[in-house]
């Protein structure tokens, strides 16, 4: 924000009056609401405060990424909800991007069948409310899956049934060494790319950076297996019979159907918008750019990488970030199918138990708000950086 403009010109009274009226009006509304809230809370014998966050929550959460049970505090329950929101958003963003880019490119395909299929995908999934899609996957499609004892079997390592999707668990030893090696690989790749770019700008010589980067990314972590003492085993899910009719899978990781249907619906819905952005971005690069690049002798791959993509990305990225943000906000629809995200855990269960509507709703809204604002600040910075510098 630009605070330079924040000076009030007292000479011009005509400008002052509407501003004073606005400010006074806003203050009056706030004062009125605060007064009522205080009266109401006083009548019900509750006092405003965030102290309840450290109290014992005494409710369970079905699905949690960190250690949690009823003996933990409300603050911890909030954290569980937040992590679940982030989890489904990250999964959704990942698949939405892949699907969206594929469909966006397909819409521009010369192949009539491909472009029409992509177009109809966009028309169908964009025009159906997201909440209905979530309901469809959760209540209709995933409920039609078989019971645990007749699960759909994927090569004996992964099973899909009505209770969820069971995948192998990764059991690591010395996981942190492996993690460091990946970080180290990224640092090396980053410096390599900078060096390659510098060299290309100076001498025009090309280094096959993509191949070398991939090699580094595989070789460095692989070395840790050989000399770093890192090892990996898989906990493969196994069917266990508890009683004559009750079967469960143990070992392995269970991906609950709520998460599957939410991630599926979110990514399929958001992909339609990303596809439109990608299409607009590629169409937005003028034909002359490609022709100019071809006329100085760049190959097709080079044209795409060095001329088309940098310009298309400038058009694609801002609205796509907006879609990522929308996806994150839309993940709050989880409450409708009881996926324990921040809205269900905190604005639902915790609010029901404590009755502290103002505190809890304000925390929930503030969480989303800070997320959105930080992303929009980042976007403004990015737009400024990427804007074409005209002479």
């Amino acid at each position: 924000m630009n605070f330079k403009n924040f000076k009030i010109n007292f000479k011009n009274k005509r400008d002052l009056i509407p501003q004073v009226i606005t400010v006074v009006f806003i203050l009056l509304v706030i004062a009125y609401f605060t007064m009522n809230a205080q009266n109401n809370m006083g009548n019900r014998g509750i006092s405003f405060g965030y102290g309840f966050l450290s109290q014992e929550s005494s409710f369970d959460i079905q699905f949690s990424l960190i250690d949690y049970d009823g003996s933990h505090s409300y603050a911890r329950a909030f954290l569980v909800g937040l992590l679940n929101t982030i989890l489904v958003s990250v999964i959704g963003i990942f698949f939405a991007t892949i699907l969206g880019v594929t469909i966006g490119i397909s819409r521009l395909s010369q192949n009539y069948l491909i472009s029409k299929t992509a177009e109809w995908y966009v028309e169908i999934f964009r025009n159906i409310p997201l909440i209905l899609q979530i309901f469809f996957w959760y209540f209709a499609a995933l409920r039609a899956l078989p019971l645990p004892e007749n699960s759909i079997n994927f090569y004996d390592i992964s099973y899909l049934n009505v209770k969820g999707w069971y995948v192998p668990k990764f059991i690591w030893t010395n996981f942190n060494i492996f993690l460091y090696s990946i970080i180290a690989a990224f640092v090396v790749i980053f410096s390599l790319n900078r060096y390659a770019k510098k060299r290309r700008d100076e001498s025009g010589k090309q280094i096959p950076t993509l191949l070398i980067s991939l090699a580094i990314l595989f070789i460095l972590p692989f070395l840790t297996f050989l000399i770093g003492g890192v090892s990996l085993t898989f906990g493969i899910p196994e069917l266990e019979q508890l009683s004559t009719t009750v079967f469960v899978y143990k070992n392995g990781v269970s991906i609950i159907p709520e998460l599957i249907s939410l991630a599926l619906a979110l990514s399929m819905y958001t992909a339609t918008f990303i596809a439109e952005n990608v299409r607009a971005g590629i169409l937005g690069v003028s034909k002359g750019q490609k022709e100019a690049a071809a006329s100085i002798g760049l190959t097709k791959g080079q044209i795409l990488k060095l001329v088309v993509m940098p310009q298309a990305l400038r058009i694609i990225i801002p609205p796509t970030t907006n879609q990522y943000l929308n996806l994150t906000k839309n993940s709050s629809l989880a409450a409708a199918i009881a996926y324990p995200d921040i809205v269900l855990v905190f604005a639902g269960t915790a609010l029901m138990q404590t009755g502290r509507a103002i505190e809890i709703i304000s925390i929930t809204m503030f969480t989303y708000l800070s997320l959105s604002l930080s992303i929009s600040v980042f976007m403004n910075w990015y737009n400024k950086k990427m804007a074409i510098k005209e002479k």
Binding site: F6, N111, I128, L130
Partner: protein, 418 residues
């Protein structure tokens, strides 16, 4: 080694066409027969080869008919649109196979094996969809819990709306302005009074009983009418020279745009009553309408601001040089042009609003999607979730698709090429 005799060329066009088409027909026939009669024509081949036989045959066939500038118009069209290279040929085949595989079962489920007759779940004996469920519950899906004997009121309100909207296209230009003002400001009150009742001998129906598709329309229509002017003033406020107004507009817009609608609805349900004097009761529907309106107004403001920013500065300067004041300049010169520029954005905001209406289930109001949720838990109709959601999805899809098409037409009609 060069297989030049296998390179399709114009000289032996007939040979290539015949052999190519034969292979393509063979590959499609294999897939079709496999799907419909469950007979594998290529069963004599090894398992993997038999699996990939159709795509191999089809690709070779398409390769053989890929003759450039063959002189045959149809062939050239097929080659450029479906068969420009091997990769495209494979994609074409894969899509054709997928269509052959998935379209018949879908059609079967939808029509041929579906049940349309009867009025209990037991009448659904076929393997397809049970549309009896939709037929029996249609009244609830459209009118919610509104009493059967009073449903004519909703019908009349909506018929009136359609007649008025239809008539607005035909009235003379002079009356049109007042006509639209009537439609925007007077009619909503009449319609609402007709549906809620309480006066003129009409039975009072509380909003809790409203529901179904009619509620979807009521909520979207009211939010739509109300969010537009608020959004417009917010957009002007955000571009105002007066800092207090600018920053309060920015704060308002960013606050609503930063949070998901569901938390706003939660707020209107549990937090808003705390902010009112003890004992005041604001109707659920009105609270929801306020929440949705303010939420969508923030989005509308950003869309309109985009239009305001896109207008060349000369328009403002020209208006000022004619001696127009702030309001006159904006309402006569700036806004008409800015709004025209952002019709697609406005249409998208309206579409988002219609798609957001199912969320009012948070406060216990059940529109179409909510009614489907309720109906599928009815003990007599368990297991009907698929039919219910497909029906609701179809209804929403038609509404949204028609709206988006209409906005595209409007955009074309209003575009003034310079």
């Amino acid at each position: 080694m060069k297989l030049s005799f296998l390179k399709p060329n114009k000289e032996k066009i007939n040979n290539f066409l015949i052999s190519g088409s034969f292979l393509i027909v063979l590959s499609l026939a294999d897939v079709i027969i496999n799907n419909i009669f469950d007979i594998n024509l290529t069963a004599f081949l090894p398992e993997k080869l038999s699996y990939f036989a159709p795509i191999l045959l089809g690709t070779i066939g398409l390769y053989l008919i890929r003759i450039e500038f063959s002189g045959n118009k149809l062939l050239d069209k097929i080659n450029t649109n479906f068969n420009s290279n091997n990769f495209n040929a494979i994609l074409t085949l894969l899509i054709l196979f997928a269509l052959i595989k998935f379209i018949p079962p879908l059609l079967n489920w939808f029509f041929f094996d579906a049940n349309f007759l009867g009025d209990t779940k037991e009448d659904c004996s076929g393997s397809g969809a049970c549309w009896v469920f939709i037929k029996v519950w249609l009244g609830r899906f459209v009118y919610g819990m509104y009493p059967d004997s009073e449903q004519w009121r909703i019908n009349i309100a909506f018929i009136m709306l359609f007649l008025l909207v239809g008539a607005s296209f035909f009235v003379p230009a002079k009356v049109k302005k007042y006509f639209i003002l009537f439609l925007l400001f007077i009619y909503p009150i009449i319609g609402l009074k007709l549906i809620s009742g309480g006066d003129f001998g009409l039975k009072y129906i509380e909003t809790g009983a409203w529901g179904g598709l009619s509620l979807t329309f009521i909520v979207s229509a009211f939010a739509l009418i109300l969010c537009f002017p608020i959004g417009m003033f917010l957009a002007l406020g955000r571009r105002s020279d007066l800092p207090a107004i600018r920053y309060s507009s920015i704060g308002f817009i960013e606050l609503w745009r930063g949070v998901p609608l569901i938390t706003v609805l939660f707020m209107s349900a549990v937090m808003f009553p705390m902010f009112l004097p003890d004992g005041t009761y604001v109707d659920k529907l009105i609270r929801v309408l306020i929440a949705i309106t303010l939420f969508e107004a923030a989005y509308m403001a950003e869309v309109i601001r985009g239009g305001l920013q896109a207008l060349p500065k000369g328009q403002y300067e020209a208006a000022k040089s004619l001696g127009m004041g702030y309001w006159k300049m904006h309402f006569l010169i700036i806004l008409p042009q800015a709004l025209k520029l952002v019709i697609p954005g406005i249409a998208n905001t309206f579409l988002a609003l219609v798609k957001d209406t199912p969320l009012i289930f948070v406060v216990g109001l059940l529109e179409l999607a909510g009614m489907v949720n309720l109906a599928k838990t009815n003990p007599k109709w368990l297991g009907m979730a698929m039919e219910g959601y497909v029906f609701a999805g179809l209804v929403f899809w038609i509404i949204c698709y028609v709206m988006s098409r209409y906005s595209q037409n409007l955009e074309k009609k209003l575009s003034t090429e310079r």
